[in-house]
């Protein structure tokens, strides 16, 4: 009973669900008092008092959300640019057209008079423009198509296990005419310019599943799904969720980043490669080509092969045998050394990246350098790798940087090497005084 009174007071004019088409005044009161946006935000305090039938419209939208994204997804497959964002972005856009007939507005102050007309106009214009834009550029709408999350891709296992209902849309009391209840988390999909909505973790998982279900037809490589998963997780990163589960996911994601190789289904013109950012400690080891040069002028750049360090071929067993490189290497490093003032052009294999089952990733560079690769703090903002072409006056966007990694020397190897070096130095010290006693 108290509930019903609360409901009447909260619902205000809408307590009569038949929708009184009265003057605007009762509606004004009703909307101010109800404020369902507050309710949705907290999540737990859903307005469930009114025992009327729950709105069916929500569920329809949900179901409708499922099929349309497949279409944009298919189109995005043909599209260009970074794969991740488009998948999710297309889906975000795919979800959007559905609400057009349903007059989705945030209830409350926006539900009033002219705003309705305004928002309906707003609906129609961007929606039609979205899909053509889909193939262009990197992802869109819902999230930065860059998989920027620290939590990275959730493990695919989890995705497959939970086959829960797509979106658990909470039941609301019947809204007023012209007042539509929008979950705060869906605000992002309302418009191109709509603000970002913080996603809850609970919703996250459901959205992941949604993506998975909707994306069965695409040549879904693990990478593609994972890309979409990454997009889901962007907002998780935004929410600064620092749970330990993040670390586990991160390790697995490192595996996914590097272990996934050679998807044959990628079209040639789609740049599906993801860009990663590595931070190395200074100074980055210098590498030189060992191939004898044909041009005599460039000998300053390269070491003659006779001057070979004993450790040169220490990892020959691990790495692939060097291909027949010969002249190209010499030619490239030679003349370029004179042209570039800063760095001689270097091009070649410098080591290998080893991925272990535990998720550890190590870089083994030549000369006994072993480095640990760990995921860095993933920023929530856009990062682009860009090539500046001053000669042609162009700025090429190579793409968005998906993930950042920090590379640090492996401590055991480093300490061991330091020890060896110290010993070598100690042994090199001449002991000319026979009276000296060597200690240690």
């Amino acid at each position: 009973m108290a509930d019903s009174t609360i409901s009447t007071s909260n619902a205000g004019a809408s307590s009569t669900p038949s929708g009184t088409p009265g003057p605007s005044v009762p509606k004004a009161i009703g909307s101010l008092a109800k404020k369902p946006s507050d309710v949705t935000r907290q999540g737990s305090q859903k307005l469930k008092f009114v025992p009327t039938l729950p709105s069916r419209r929500k569920k329809e939208e949900v179901k409708q959300e499922a099929p349309p994204p497949t279409i944009p997804n298919a189109s995005t497959d043909r599209g260009r640019g970074r794969g991740r964002g488009r998948g999710r972005g297309g889906e975000g856009r795919g979800a959007a057209p559905r609400p057009v007939p349903v007059e989705m507005t945030a209830s409350g102050p926006f539900a009033m008079g002219p705003a309705l007309a305004g928002t309906s106009a707003r609906r129609s214009a961007p929606r039609s423009n979205f899909t053509p834009i889909v193939p262009l550029g990197p992802g869109n709408a819902t999230a930065l198509g860059a998989g920027l999350s620290g939590a990275a891709a959730p493990s695919l296992k989890r995705e497959k296990e939970t086959v829960a209902p797509i979106i658990d849309e909470d039941d609301y009391s019947d809204p007023d005419e012209g007042v539509e209840i929008i979950d705060m988390e869906n605000v992002r999909q309302m418009d191109w310019m709509a603000p970002e909505s913080l996603r809850k973790e609970r919703k996250e998982k459901k959205k992941k599943i949604q993506v998975k279900i909707e994306d069965p037809s695409s040549p879904s490589s693990i990478k593609k799904k994972e890309e979409e998963m990454n997009i889901e997780e962007v907002d998780l990163a935004n929410a600064l969720d620092l749970s330990e589960s993040e670390e586990e996911e991160e390790l697995e994601d490192l595996i996914d980043d590097f272990a996934v190789q050679g998807e044959a289904d990628q079209d040639a013109d789609i740049r599906q490669e993801r860009l990663y950012f590595f931070q190395f400690p200074e100074p980055f080891p210098t590498f030189v080509s060992n191939i004898p040069l044909t041009s005599p002028t460039a000998m300053s750049v390269d070491e003659p092969p006779s001057d070979s360090h004993p450790r040169k071929v220490s990892f020959a067993a691990d790495v692939k045998p060097p291909g027949p490189s010969g002249d190209p290497a010499g030619a490239s490093t030679g003349p370029d050394a004179e042209q570039t003032k800063e760095l001689p052009k270097v091009d070649g294999v410098i080591g290998q990246l080893e991925v272990y089952r535990s998720g550890a990733v190590k870089m083994r560079l030549s000369n006994g350098i072993l480095m640990d690769v760990t995921g860095a703090t993933q920023p929530s903002f856009l990062q682009q790798a860009v090539h500046l072409d001053l000669q042609n006056k162009r700025l090429h966007i190579m793409g968005e940087v998906n993930k950042r990694f920090v590379v640090s020397p492996e401590i055991d190897t480093l300490l061991h090497a330091m020890e060896l070096r110290d010993q070598a130095e100690a042994n090199a010290m001449p002991i000319d005084d026979t009276n000296l006693i060597k200690i240690g």
């Binding site: 590097f258 080891p285 290497a329 350098i369 090429h396």
Partner: protein, 282 residues
């Protein structure tokens, strides 16, 4: 770690073919990709860029979404006028406003200006292709933030019109007076003197023989240098750049250049101990 099974091995290729022109551009607080809003793309607006090569400053102009639901057209006119004025002052006119001579200038784009960020350590861009990791060194890191310098013009105008009473609008009275400088002379009557005063400080920095500069007690050397640098930067001419998205053929070429062509194993000249040894102060 012996029981840690090795899952896969990727050879690492390194190439610096794109040096010294490989940048990372960061857009703090921007969490969506840099794209022309569809409503603006329809009217033919595109993202543009320009650079001051010597000072290494970039600007990216992103068209705004001009739909009336999300954009205040009236305000854009007033801001546009302010921006045009600001452009003329600072020699940063895009030169594209000439088309709209008949109309009032509007704000049609967000200008993002770059700051060169010092790099900590060596940054590399890595791309995985065909089971190989290709690394390229990143030479510069830029952070882009929207420039709102036209707001200064507006606040100046409003300050002028309102006299010195201070404004209760969003504009503040500017930064507190610098202790090195004498307090600027305020005369409410002579409104045209105020903008002149704002510039006077800079003038005194440039012209060493200027009387006014000396009369005002002179600026500290550091401040003069800073002003010189600012002035030099403002006088440098912008060079327009083509903003190529990932789709163009040239973009393709640039992207392909990331990948190393060579299969040769390079010899490493440095030791792992160099990481520790080269730490300054250690």
């Amino acid at each position: 770690m012996d029981d840690d099974e090795l899952i896969s091995v990727l050879p690492i290729h390194y190439s610096n073919s794109l040096s010294p022109n490989l940048h990372i551009h960061q857009f703090p607080l921007l969490s969506r990709p840099l794209q022309t809003p569809p409503a603006a793309a329809v009217s033919g607006k595109r993202i543009r860029a320009r650079i001051k090569p010597i000072t290494r400053r970039l600007e990216i102009h992103v068209p705004v979404d001009p739909r009336p639901e999300v954009w205040n057209g009236e305000r854009s006119k007033s801001l546009g006028a302010a921006r045009q004025e600001d452009d003329c002052e600072k020699n940063q006119d895009t030169g594209k406003m000439k088309q709209m001579e008949g109309e009032e200038p509007r704000l049609i784009e967000v200008r993002m200006r770059s700051e060169l960020i010092p790099q900590e350590g060596a940054y590399m861009l890595g791309v995985v292709r065909n089971g190989q990791l290709h690394l390229q060194p990143i030479n510069e890191t830029h952070q882009f933030r929207p420039t709102l310098t036209y707001l200064d013009v507006m606040s100046r105008k409003s300050r002028r019109s309102r006299g010195d009473a201070g404004s209760d609008e969003d504009s503040d009275d500017g930064p507190p007076p610098d202790p090195d400088e004498p307090p600027p002379v305020q005369t409410a009557a002579k409104k045209e003197k105020k903008p002149l005063e704002v510039k006077e400080v800079q003038v005194s920095a440039r012209k060493v023989a200027d009387d006014k500069g000396n009369l005002q007690g002179g600026l500290s050397a550091v401040r003069r240098e800073m002003l010189l640098a600012i002035r030099a930067e403002e006088e440098e001419v912008w060079q327009d750049l083509d903003f190529c998205d990932g789709e163009t053929a040239e973009g393709h070429e640039a992207f392909e250049a990331v990948f190393s062509q060579n299969e040769e194993h390079l010899e490493c000249k440095s030791d792992i101990t160099a990481f520790l040894k080269d730490i300054e102060g250690l």
